[in-house]
């Protein structure tokens, strides 16, 4: 029942959730993120808009962690480079619990509802843990891209060094290239 309610109310739920997320940005930035709708002029705002929608429908339609991870990608990837501590970067997930409780408070308070709230909160916790994974993966990939930049900057020096040895042994090995890391 709660899930159906959230689905019906999804616009309102999303509005409140997004408002809470935007509150984690400074005033003047929040206004920009909220008002500028162009995906390319405002990638953060757009990602928040899209990913919150996807995550909510994950929760109401039955959580699939694989799909949820992909939905988490956008916002978490952005927040991973915005200088926030991890708690803050993924802190937008539990904000949804607050919204859920608010909505639940509007319904007749039954045992069934309480059960549903608990179940949904457990799902949000799963999302939170998944977002931690995504966050850590993003942070690691910052390291990786820095590494691979360093390598490509001195590409010729490395290749020349490697090639020099390879050629001494067997010229054909010079065909072997490092697999590209894209």
């Amino acid at each position: 029942m709660l899930k159906q309610q959230l689905e019906r109310d999804s616009e309102e739920v999303l509005k409140r959730w997004r408002a809470r997320i935007l509150e984690t940005y400074p005033d003047q930035t929040a206004r920009f993120l909220a008002s500028e709708k162009d995906e390319f002029a405002n990638p953060i705002g757009h990602a928040i808009h899209r990913d919150t929608r996807d995550l909510l429908s994950e929760l109401t339609a039955g959580l699939d962690l694989g799909r949820a991870r992909r939905a988490l990608e956008g916002v978490v990837r952005i927040r991973a480079v915005q200088g926030m501590p991890p708690s803050e970067a993924i802190g937008f997930i539990p904000l949804l619990k607050d919204v859920v409780r608010e909505r639940a408070a509007l319904l007749p308070q039954t045992d069934e509802l309480r059960g549903e709230v608990r179940a949904l909160e457990a799902d949000v916790d799963k999302l939170l843990l998944a977002s931690l994974d995504v966050f850590v993966a993003c942070r690691e990939s910052i390291h990786d891209v820095a590494q691979s930049q360093l390598k490509s900057m001195v590409h010729v020096l490395i290749e020349r060094a490697n090639r020099g040895k390879a050629r001494d042994r067997a010229p054909s090995e010079s065909e072997a290239r490092e697999p590209r890391t894209t």
């Binding site: 005033d27 930035t29 008002s35």
Partner: protein, 332 residues
């Protein structure tokens, strides 16, 4: 908000002072003659000093236009003559677009009107429209005021007044520019007060001129639409000012002196403020130069010699290595 309050307080004190002064009969000759002359003198000296003495004195060492379109290079690729001009004529066109229709500000509109996933956002459009409404109305109102300074009334002033009152709403006829200027200034002020982003970047010096301009517009409007204003006497005063035979006829209401004094304040304030963007925009080196850098050499008057690493020094330093790898040497 702090800086808005500061500006509002400053302006409040100014306005109160002006209102009090306008009541005093003894001060009328000061407000009606001395102050306008002083204000115009400050304006002229101030603007000339800033434009010729400060900006003009500093050279333009490099030609650095911002190119906002295709360059002129190959004959068969169409250049963007106005957004990336390569000729003086093009520059004049670019500047005309910039000054008359705020071309660059309009770019905000164009980019933001591109449909996003859902709604098109029009915030940039509002800024452009408000700026256009304010600046053009202001210009037309100033020109329309020439009817007070000319006898017989200059033809263009009469014509403008007729056009401006085209809709013939109310008595006396409502001028379209008066509506537009209030709307424009109002929007420009409100966005600075209520938009957190704008509020943060705004200084007291951004609110102050808006308040000043609004008060001038409002006092002018009160005189026209609500007061009983002795237009003949005001014209006598205006003609007196412009012919250097200043007189202050009796019977002019104090509201007029408030209006005139605020205008004087504006004129005297202008050279010390951001309102200098008016002459400044013509001097902006990213806009008023042709992007013909590779065709015509730009000369820098202070092009000072610098320490360089000459080929000879380079060859000497790496002589043996150059020789060993078989590259040619100037001094083997």
């Amino acid at each position: 908000m702090k800086r808005f309050l500061q500006a509002a307080m400053l302006f409040g004190v100014l306005l109160a002072g002006v209102v009090v002064a306008s009541q005093a009969q003894g001060l009328r000759s000061v407000l009606g003659t001395v102050l306008p002359y002083a204000a115009v003198a400050v304006l002229l000296v101030g603007v000339i000093y800033r434009v010729a003495g400060v900006w003009g004195r500093a050279p333009v060492p490099f030609r650095i236009p911002t190119s906002c379109g295709q360059q002129k290079a190959l004959s068969w690729i169409k250049p963007s003559k106005l957004d990336n001009p390569s000729t003086t004529l093009g520059v004049i066109g670019r500047m005309a677009l910039e000054v008359l229709v705020f071309r660059s500000l309009f770019r905000n509109v164009r980019t933001q009107l591109k449909p996003g996933p859902k709604l098109a956002y029009v915030g940039g459009w509002e800024l452009w429209a408000a700026a256009m409404a304010f600046h053009w109305s202001f210009l037309l109102i100033v020109l329309r005021h020439m009817r007070y300074f000319t006898e017989p009334v200059a033809g263009f002033a009469t014509m403008l007044a007729a056009l401006d009152g085209f809709f013939e709403i109310g008595v006396p006829t409502l001028y379209v520019t008066n509506v537009l200027i209030v709307a424009g200034l109002g929007y420009l002020l409100l966005r600075r007060v209520f938009d957190p982003q704008l509020r943060m970047i705004s200084l007291a010096a951004d609110f102050f001129p808006l308040l000043l301009l609004l008060s001038i517009v409002v006092t002018g409007g009160l005189m026209r639409y609500f007061g009983h204003t002795d237009v003949a006497s005001i014209k006598e005063l205006a003609i007196g000012l412009i012919t250097f035979h200043p007189v202050v006829p009796a019977g002019i209401g104090s509201l007029f002196f408030v209006h005139l004094t605020l205008v004087s304040v504006l004129l005297a304030y202008l050279p010390f403020s951001k309102l200098m963007h008016m002459p400044g925009v013509f001097l902006s080196p990213t806009r008023n130069l042709a992007n013909n850098n590779r065709a015509e050499r730009h000369v820098n008057p202070w092009n000072a010699p610098v320490k360089v690493h000459t080929y000879e020094e380079w060859e000497e330093e790496f002589h043996d290595k150059i020789e060993a790898c078989g590259l040619p040497l100037d001094k083997p």
